[in-house]
Assembly symmetry: C2
Homo-oligomer: 142 residues x 2
Amino acid sequence: MNRKIYFAGSIRGGRADSEIYSRMIAYLSAYGEVLTEHVGSQALTAAGEDVVTDEYIFQRDIHWIRKADVVVAEVSTPSIGVGYEIATAEKMHKPVLCLYREKDGRKLSAMIAGNAVLHIAQYATFEEATEEIDRFFRSLDG
Amino acid sequence: MNRKIYFAGSIRGGRADSEIYSRMIAYLSAYGEVLTEHVGSQALTAAGEDVVTDEYIFQRDIHWIRKADVVVAEVSTPSIGVGYEIATAEKMHKPVLCLYREKDGRKLSAMIAGNAVLHIAQYATFEEATEEIDRFFRSLDG
């Protein structure tokens, strides 16, 4: 399996969902190599990666998006970086799955929810998220 | 003055800074027409615009970014939409100013802070923000 997957989740926007990111990355690993495994690390706080510069992170992440076959984004926690990554992937014509869980009555950005090019899937339980991931990969193969 | 300005600020990501957006939009109006005046409206909550569909908002905002000569984004409140708009404007080769105020020790996303194409300016007081806006427009004219 040589598929490369870019997983996007909030880091400096807040780490409230980091455990979900970790479980999604583990699940996605059955479908290919997840380039951004650090996004799910419980050791990574909202301070972000601290041994590399912002310029390094930016260049590396753009390189990884370019290399990726697909992008999977968890979009429940507001994050400037995740929005930037989704738009960047879209402009590179990568298939993008956005997984959304309603929290605190918060609504998903219209720039995502109203965008017909993206695959958007709402979930409540982790099992539902995995079903949406399965459906997304089936749609790519089909 | 026929310059068109797209102002980006958080809506569904949270409205904590809506008063600052409102003051920035008023200040920017001296430099041209702000297409997105509603972003500063105190009547607009995190529920977002409710008389139009997400598809309408998405199409309208992309059209406005395309029409705009410059984009000014307030990036202190994490927001998927603002990140998406910045990346979209960048891909259209629009000059983008990102205004950032440190809150709750939060750091700006590396996808913005590490991106050499964007104009990034940190501010503490509103007066500092206006100085950064002045400097940005001078740099475009220069």
